[in-house]
């Protein structure tokens, strides 16, 4: 994960951004780095060009934790499309991440 950068955007000019994702981390721990890598991989596979990832480091902005009701680290928040979804963990379990993002039906 690129250090410190609170946001990181990936946007294709032809499509409007449909997915707004936030990844909450606390410092550059191995879990956080894993989570970011996993997220990027999944997004590229399933949402290529149609997503934006914002990384928030709570060690730098602790006051942001309350707003999204963050408890666990790392936490991925799908802010758009609504409803808001939360996925916690290193996002290593791709299936569960896809379910959590409503990219795959629950079952």
């Amino acid at each position: 994960m690129p250090e410190g950068a609170p946001e990181r955007r990936r946007k294709t000019p032809e499509e409007p951004v449909g997915w707004e994702l936030r990844l909450y981390v606390a410092g550059q721990t191995s879990e956080s780095l894993q989570a970011f890598a996993n997220l990027k991989r999944i997004c590229e596979e399933h949402l290529a060009g149609n997503y934006r990832i914002e990384v928030i480091d709570l060690l730098k902005n602790p006051q942001l934790a309350a707003g999204d009701q963050i408890l666990a680290i790392p936490t991925l928040v799908r802010r758009l499309p609504e409803p808001v979804r939360k996925i916690i963990g290193t996002l290593a379990d791709t299936e569960r991440v896809l379910v959590g993002l409503d990219l795959r039906p629950r079952g």
């Binding site: 879990e31 894993q34 602790p62 408890l71 916690i88 569960r96």
Partner: protein, 585 residues
């Protein structure tokens, strides 16, 4: 709460953090372990959250220790509203940076778990909140929600362990609440992690009466009260009812207070009860217990002392009216503000609630005399052992404050008194017993002192009279016919008076007779005296006459001899001797 007491602790002993919660600091001997987490567990609705909130609010307001509440169940607004009824201004404390509340919302259905995670964000939020107010106290309420919201229990456990370590390292005194589990203290065995202090809250319904209880299950490095202590959530927060005198350290006053009845004072050796003692007045219905209490109150108010009268059977108006009929005017003391009535139905509240009401009334009014009339009414609102416990606590409270307490109990006519109330007896210092004495178709009242610790007291039964000017005590008539009371006594007294009259008359008569006799004898003596004098007088006269005649004779003879010697000198000697003899015969 007890700052002075705490400062007396030597540095080696465990430092404690006073909660400010009434009674809790007494049973923990100073408060919760300072800088360590304390687990508060109990079932739903037993007051865990409230205990936590009160801990924070008291800390912020009374001990200048700001606090943080991490709530997993209720929002800050909800918490503030919930405790506002207890007079806690949570919003004000938040505004003045003495309290911070962070509501952590966690809902399992909205969270997907995909891989390893930790609760660092919770630490971040906690640290932020702590730094924002400079907190010394932390409440986590409740951990169950955390377990309910997250699936990976092993992560949770290790994170909680880390959390408690973290709190300790920051020297924060923490209260962590948890639901009570089936067999264990908590549902998730959290007591394994928090081993410094565990408080168990409980509530149960016995005989349709709801009671909350608290027990210190564990307190590492400190002594603590181990019993179950009833507690209440009342107007001013939590109130635990400890047996205040775990150590029996009451000071014993030598001062005496009048019973209000001079004759009864005499029975107690002249001056009445000891100040600060507990007096039990027991008796069957209608024996004058309330009147006795009214006398006591009246005397105290006359001295300018304050009294509280807890009445569980009669309203204040009833007592005042009824006491007027025996010549005791309690209304003037009510008007003067020296006397206060608390009249409630015993069954209206649970026994602990009664105790707490009494407790707060006593604390507020600061009386020197308290009357409870009757204590037995409270029996109905609880079981015997609970009543005893309550009485013990009440007696303790009053003793600690050096308040003289007079408690009335109603005994059943047929009950052998000593058996039925022996458990109460041990709590009280003096015990007056009023009883009916049925003789000669009458019911009369008798009174005696069953016990009076430290007082030389009369062992006699007195007849107890209710007159229009109050209570009067009479010696019982004890005679060959046995013990007499009432009109039998009056009759006996009259009879005795008559007998005494007769005797007195007899004595007077005897005296009269003796007088007369003496006078008669004296008269006789006088008469004899007179006779004697007369005789003496007479004999004197005779003697005088004789003397006279003798001297006459002498004169005659000498005259004759003169004349004879002139005529014939020879015949003179013969005649002289003859005449002499003849004159003497």
């Amino acid at each position: 709460m007890k700052k002075s007491r705490r400062s007396a602790f030597s540095p080696e002993t465990l430092p404690k953090c006073p909660t400010g919660i009434q009674g809790l600091d007494e049973i923990t001997f100073g408060g919760l372990p300072k800088g360590r987490p304390t687990l508060v567990c109990g079932g739903p609705g037993c007051g865990k959250t409230l205990l936590g909130m009160e801990f924070l609010v008291r800390g912020a307001t009374e001990f200048d220790e700001p606090g943080v509440c991490i709530s997993f169940e209720e929002t800050a607004e909800e918490l503030a509203r919930n405790v506002a009824s207890l007079g806690f201004d949570v919003d004000g404390l938040i505004a003045s940076k003495k309290l911070a509340i962070d509501y952590v919302f966690i809902e399992r259905s909205l969270i997907e778990e995909a891989g390893e995670y930790d609760l660092e964000a919770l630490f971040v939020r906690l640290a932020l909140a702590i730094d924002s107010v400079g907190a010394k106290r932390v409440v986590l309420d409740s951990l169950e929600s955390l377990f309910a919201g997250l699936a990976n229990e092993s992560i949770l456990r290790s994170e909680l362990r880390r959390m408690f370590r973290w709190l300790k390292d920051r020297n924060l005194t923490a209260v962590i609440t948890a639901e009570r589990g089936e067999g264990d203290l908590t549902r998730y065995g959290l007591e394994e992690y928090i081993s410094d202090c565990v408080i168990l809250l409980d509530h149960r319904v016995t005989d349709t009466i709801f009671t909350r209880r608290m027990r210190i299950v564990k307190y590492r490095g400190s002594t603590h009260g181990t019993n179950e202590f009833p507690f209440l959530i009342e107007d001013h927060g939590i109130s635990v009812l400890p047996v205040t005198s775990l150590e029996l350290k009451h000071t014993a006053s030598e001062e005496r207070v009048s019973t209000g009845i001079p004759a009864l004072d005499t029975m107690f050796g002249g001056d009445g009860y000891f100040r600060g003692s507990s007096i039990l007045v027991s008796g069957t219905a209608g024996t004058g217990k309330t009147t006795l209490a009214a006398h006591f109150v009246n005397a105290a108010c006359s001295r300018g002392e304050r009294c509280i009268y807890f009445s569980f059977e009669e309203s204040a108006g009833q007592v005042v009216r009824n006491m007027r009929s025996v010549g005791i005017d309690l209304k003037r003391w009510l008007d003067k503000g020296l006397l206060r009535f608390h009249a409630t139905r015993a069954t209206s509240l649970g026994i602990e609630m009664h105790l707490v009401k009494m407790h707060s009334a006593v604390n507020e009014f600061d009386p020197s005399i308290v009357v409870v009339d009757p204590v037995t009414a409270l029996l109905n609102s609880s079981t015997q052992s609970e009543t005893r416990g309550m009485l013990l606590r009440m007696v303790d409270l009053l003793k600690a404050k050096q308040i003289t307490a007079l408690m009335n109990t109603l005994t059943h006519g047929a009950d052998p008194l000593e058996q039925s109330q022996v458990d109460i007896s041990s709590l009280v210092d003096a015990w007056l017993f009023l009883r009916d004495i049925e003789t000669g178709g009458e019911r009369n009242r008798g009174m005696y002192i069953l016990k009076a610790r430290g007082l030389a007291h009369s062992n006699q039964i007195r007849e107890f009279l209710l007159t229009s000017h109050g209570v009067e005590l009479r010696d019982l008539y004890l005679g060959p016919a046995g013990m007499l009371t009432g009109s039998a006594r009056v009759a006996q007294e009259a009879k005795e008076a008559a007998e005494a009259g007769l005797l007195r008359q007899g004595i007077e008569k005897q005296e009269l007779i003796r007088d007369r006799k003496r006078k008669a004898i004296e008269a006789q003596i006088a008469a004899l005296q007179l006779e004697l004098e007369t005789e003496v007088q007479e004999s004197k006269q005779v003697l005088a006459q004789e003397e006279l005649r003798l001297s006459d004779l002498d004169r005659d003879r000498s005259a004759m001899a003169k004349s004879r010697s002139l005529n014939a000198g020879t015949r003179e000697s013969g005649r002289k001797s003859g005449n002499k003899a003849g004159g003497r015969a």
